[in-house]
């Protein structure tokens, strides 16, 4: 199928197809034990999204509990510094501090609807874990969160938040002890109890229907941004930028602009500390097609199909694969993905702190750094950045950095 046809199908809402494919990417590559659970979840999700009562309930939670719509903000001092018109979508102001709540709330509502007795989730930065813990607390569902032991340490404030909200946090010491290992363990847990448990996957990855349902719940970011740009800026952006780990905030954000051919879409991946294997998590820049965690997408792997180790200052971007819909967007040329290094992200984080008084998470700091790079060599472009989370969770990392820089005193 040609790139144009695939893009048209995507814009028209025809993808994923019935088997969960976005062109050559996606699908459902899982042990047989999980197939009935995925089918039940898909059916439940379709029913819910078609049900006006469900939509009303979701909207009510979004408005009164999540705090939607989140603001769109013009950033005057950043604009001057970048020689651009900079707009920020403030997902960091959503309840629990990141876009993750959009998906966690939606899926928790479906979990309840399909009669799940408990919820498991994985978390990297801890934001998805906190969002899931919060949604489960609100809906009265028991919640278990798997988190890599390394991430438990570097995102410590979020571990305490999860405990406080009644979730059980299970540190994962196997594998790379970060997000990939946490997903492995959450899936293993789910394989052991596919009938009683719902797995709330936190990004636009995994077997069908996850990439689809996560996109559906994150689309609210793009839809609001599109409307708010027209209302406040009186125009659409020339450039829209989001960070990409698994790709949930980016896919929801991009979806608001897919049909607007003049809006360039850019994803910022974790460039870590270098371009060699094991030094980064830039899946699209350094990966090849492969199958991990139930879906075919771009994957950091060696020639034998073993998944590579990754490195990033941002626990939320530290994942060797990317959602299949992003792989398709790159394949058809609708979105472009770039590696952004740790130090560039930290510089961008500082810039936003100092010029606008906003402490972003290190994940969206990657998007800010990329946006700044894209503004060079252009004449006063209108740029929209999705600030998908706030940086409070990153205090352990920032404290350590400040100590190294001698700036703590």
């Amino acid at each position: 199928m040609t790139a144009d046809t695939l893009l048209r199908q995507l814009i028209d809402g025809e993808l994923p197809d019935d088997d969960g494919f976005f062109g050559r990417f996606g699908g459902r590559f899982v042990p047989e034990t999980l197939v009935p659970a995925l089918e039940r979840f898909e059916e439940g999700a379709r029913g819910a999204l078609d049900d006006s009562a469900f939509k009303t309930e979701l909207k009510q939670h979004q408005e009164t509990w999540v705090g939607r719509p989140t603001p769109l903000m013009y950033a005057p001092r950043l604009s001057r510094a970048w020689n651009a018109q900079v707009w920020l979508k403030r997902e960091d102001l959503a309840h629990t501090g990141a876009h993750k709540i959009n998906n966690a709330l939606g899926q928790a509502l479906i979990a309840k609807r399909i009669g799940a007795k408990r919820v498991v989730a994985e978390t990297g930065a801890g934001q998805h874990g906190v969002a899931t813990a919060a949604a489960c607390a609100r809906l009265g569902l028991p919640c278990i969160v798997y988190m890599g032991a390394i991430d438990v340490e570097r995102q410590a404030p979020n571990v305490v938040r999860m405990w406080r909200m009644g979730a059980e946090v299970r540190p994962v010491t196997t594998g790379d002890a970060t997000l990939r290992a946490a997903v492995d363990e959450a899936i293993r847990h789910w394989v052991g109890d596919p009938e009683g448990t719902h797995y709330i996957l936190g990004s636009a990855v995994g077997p069908h229907p996850f990439p689809w349902i996560v996109r559906e719940f994150q689309k609210v970011i793009g839809v609001e941004s599109h409307r708010q740009m027209l209302e406040q800026a009186k125009k659409l952006p020339d450039i829209a930028v989001a960070c990409v780990g698994g790709g949930s905030n980016a896919i929801g954000f991009f979806h608001g602009f897919l049909g607007d051919a003049d809006v360039e879409l850019h994803g910022a991946e974790a460039g870590g500390v270098g371009a060699n294997v094991g030094q980064h998590a830039a899946t699209m820049s350094g990966g090849t097609p492969g199958v991990l965690h139930g879906s075919r997408s771009m994957l950091l792997q060696d020639g034998d199909g073993q998944v590579s180790d990754t490195q990033s200052i941002s626990a939320g971007l530290d994942y060797p694969a990317i959602g299949p819909e992003h792989a398709l967007l790159a394949h058809v040329g609708r979105a472009t993905y770039h590696a952004v290094r740790d130090d560039d992200a930290i510089a961008a984080l500082d810039e936003l702190c100092r010029l606008e008084g906003i402490l972003p998470a290190v994940e969206p700091a990657h998007a800010l750094a990329l946006a700044k790079r894209l503004c060079r060599n252009r004449d006063n472009p209108t740029v929209l950045v999705n600030v998908c989370g706030r940086g409070d969770k990153d205090m352990p990392i920032l404290t350590k950095l400040a100590e190294q820089q001698g700036g703590a005193s």
């Binding site: 459902r28 047989e32 034990t33 009935p36 052991g192 596919p194 492969g290 199958v291 792997q301 199909g305």
Partner: protein, 254 residues
Amino acid sequence: MKPHQRIAQAIIAGREQHGIALVAYVTAGYPTLDAFPEILKEACAHADVVEVGIPFSNPIADGGTLQESAREALKRGATMTKIMRTLRDLDGTLAAPLLLMGYLNPLLAYGLDRLADDAIAAGVHGVIVPDLPLEALGMARPLTDASLATIGMVSPVTSDERLARIAEHATGFVYAVTSVGVTGQKRSDQAQIIGYLTKVKAAATIPVCAGFGIRSKQHADALRGACDGVIVGSALMEAVGQGRDVGSVLAALR
């Protein structure tokens, strides 16, 4: 005889001789690349069919023992290329037919066309791919075209309708996962397992083997009559990890 028929035949012969056939799982390259060929030979001498596990970095259907064995094997440099070369060198010296058990990604990286050619050349008779469900079986076309067995897996939560379709498409045998969960875990209630296996047997025209959580002769004996064979993996790899002799561990299961 086609490769997949050889697998089915070996299970039936094992059942006729011992009351229930024995399928042994060994992780390729565990505990070391050098020790593996001897372990494989021993396994083939005592089991009716041997599964050779291809190590993968993210084996989501595996419990602790098999995860650990794969991790060790990878650390020691086990790759598809080396494993296929080892199998090719051993071809003709092994007393039982072989199956490759591997997650999809390393198989795709190797190339399924190449895998089909090399499997035939190395005397491999089939494959088990735990993360290749019925709906994606079309991808395995190069393997089915080569008449390799594509083992179908079913689980206690599989619907009757899916069970019928999986049994219809499987060749070699139907792999009935006896517990809902990862490998090596405790099995479900005995009466439930028998009821489930009876259902799988009724749906299949090829042999049915039960696996996951089978650790002793007692477990195997309890399934006599309800299925054609049992698959023993974690218990065997645990024994290998402790340096115990594979031949005597398998002999004790008969």
